[in-house]
């Protein structure tokens, strides 16, 4: 559970900050913004197994591309056993999880930004507000509901992010990337303790349902 929370916190902060920045950058009048939108959503449509196995190969301690590059540019000291070092594995998995997930946040933020009426910005400019003031006083207050929505979706998604972990580390090294769902699976397939697995499943399910319920109430209370 602690591990899942760790991944969730990292995902909440970095993934959504990145998603918001990208959405904000894409919201302006720039060229090729549809191209960017298409590309940013490629990682989310891939399956977790595919993403996990590709990244496992890139991050491989002995033959991986990342370490190969680090060695080639003379930063051998930075090369690590990304997935088999107990201190690093969880962070590595979290970063890959963010890579896969930021596209969702990006799309929702972008949709949110596009609902802000342009007139507000024009009025602000007439009143002499510069870009930063307009951003602080218009964009941020208008985006807070969307941000809460994205945050809850991120929490739900991340708590259930276990396929990626199965594909990348299998919960190892020595349970350093173990998460709740993996434990439930282990109880079924490893030791066939169905009652125990069921209890774990219910506890975990209740936690998720509470979070979903908050989100449901929230999306009810507000119209898009």
């Amino acid at each position: 559970m602690l591990n899942a929370s760790y991944i969730t916190v990292i995902a909440l902060v970095f993934q959504n900050a990145l998603a918001f920045l990208l959405a904000w950058a894409c919201d302006r009048e720039i060229r090729a913004k549809n191209w960017y939108r298409v590309i940013f959503f490629i990682p989310p449509v891939l399956s977790e197994v595919v993403v996990g196995l590709v990244w496992k190969w890139i991050l491989d301690g002995n033959y991986g591309l990342l370490n190969g590059w680090l060695n080639a540019v003379g930063l051998s000291g930075w090369a690590h056993n990304w997935l088999s070092d107990p201190n690093l594995a969880l962070t590595t998995v979290s970063v890959v999880h963010c890579w896969k997930g930021f596209g969702w946040g990006f799309l929702i933020f972008l949709a949110g930004l596009q609902t802000i009426p342009r007139e507000l910005y024009e009025a602000a400019r007439v009143d002499g507000a510069n870009a930063w003031v307009a951003f602080k006083n218009i964009t941020i207050p208008m985006m807070i509901p969307v941000a809460v929505l994205v945050a809850i979706l991120t929490i739900l998604g991340t708590m259930q992010a276990f396929v990626l972990i199965i594909a990348m580390t299998g919960g190892g090294p020595a349970y350093h990337t173990q998460v709740p769902v993996l434990r439930i699976l282990g109880s079924i397939q490893g030791s066939s303790r169905f009652g125990y697995a069921c209890a774990q499943g219910i506890v975990f399910g209740v936690v998720l349902i509470i979070i979903s319920f908050v989100q449901y109430r929230f999306s009810r209370s507000r119209k898009y």
């Binding site: 990145l18 920045l21 990208l22 950058a25 720039i30 191209w35 960017y36 939108r37 298409v38 590309i39 940013f40 959503f41 490629i42 990682p43 449509v45 891939l46 399956s47 977790e48 197994v49 595919v50 993403v51 196995l53 590709v54 496992k56 190969w57 890139i58 591309l65 190969g68 080639a72 890579w99 596209g103 969702w104 799309l107 949709a111 929505l149 979706l153 259930q160 276990f162 396929v163 199965i166 594909a167 439930i184 699976l185 079924i188 397939q189 169905f194 697995a197 069921c198 774990q200 499943g201 219910i202 975990f204 399910g205 998720l208 349902i209 979903s212 319920f213 989100q215 999306s219 898009y224």
Partner: protein
Amino acid sequence: MKTSAYYKSKKVAINLLVHLFLISVAITCIFPLIWMIGSSLKTQETIFRDMSLIPHKLHFENYYLAWTEGGFGKYFLNSIFYTVSVVFGIIIISSMAAYAFSRLKFPGRNILFVMFMAAMMIPIPGSFVPLYILLNKLHLRDTAIGYILCMVNVGLSTSIFLLKTFFDKMPKELEDAARIDGCSKLGIWWHVALPLAKPVLAVVVVFNALNVWNEYILALIIFDNPHLMPLQVGLARFGGEFITRYPLLMAGLTITALPIILVYIFMQKYIVKGVTQGAVVG
């Protein structure tokens, strides 16, 4: 004049920075895929030394080996079979159910609908233990039909919700006209409601197809027999058994990922729509 030139160059500079930022993120999105395809074209000997993106000699035989020896051909056909049948089932059941929820008055309608919506909030990880036991008791574990039924069930709630929202907004006059012409309720569903719902149906089809294709955990629990496994489980199994045969593994990954990427690029209009609508629903 000077100030306008100043503002113009400032704007160009900002746009340049923005593009730089976006492009660098875009590269990190695509790069692993290119590396995957590149690796799949190397041989067992060169893959550990050759760090070039596109190898000098392209070894397409990896794909042939992965398809036959690695078993990905079998997994691929299984995945296609499951995807098509699940999506077909979802479309038929959810459109009928949504139409009934939207148009027919019958006792218990609201309670049933709330139950469907509540099912949407139960996460799969919380429910797969009872599901496993249930399927075992019904002797449906390790069979294709068991998996298809489960996956239809997974996709049903969201699809019903999307379609019902659409049917609720559909003008009643069209149906009245059909009824006067002597159309039965089923006939109206087939001849009037379904054709009108095409845009929503497209969202439902694309979303569920992606979902089934990428589904892993249920398939992992349900299937023991490798002849029935879909691609995702097959991949994980291959990765576990032949851990060092990276070129074949990468070829298998490409076989799995490519259809999804193609579908995504052609259908991205519907996917974007589905994400933004689905986010509101949860």
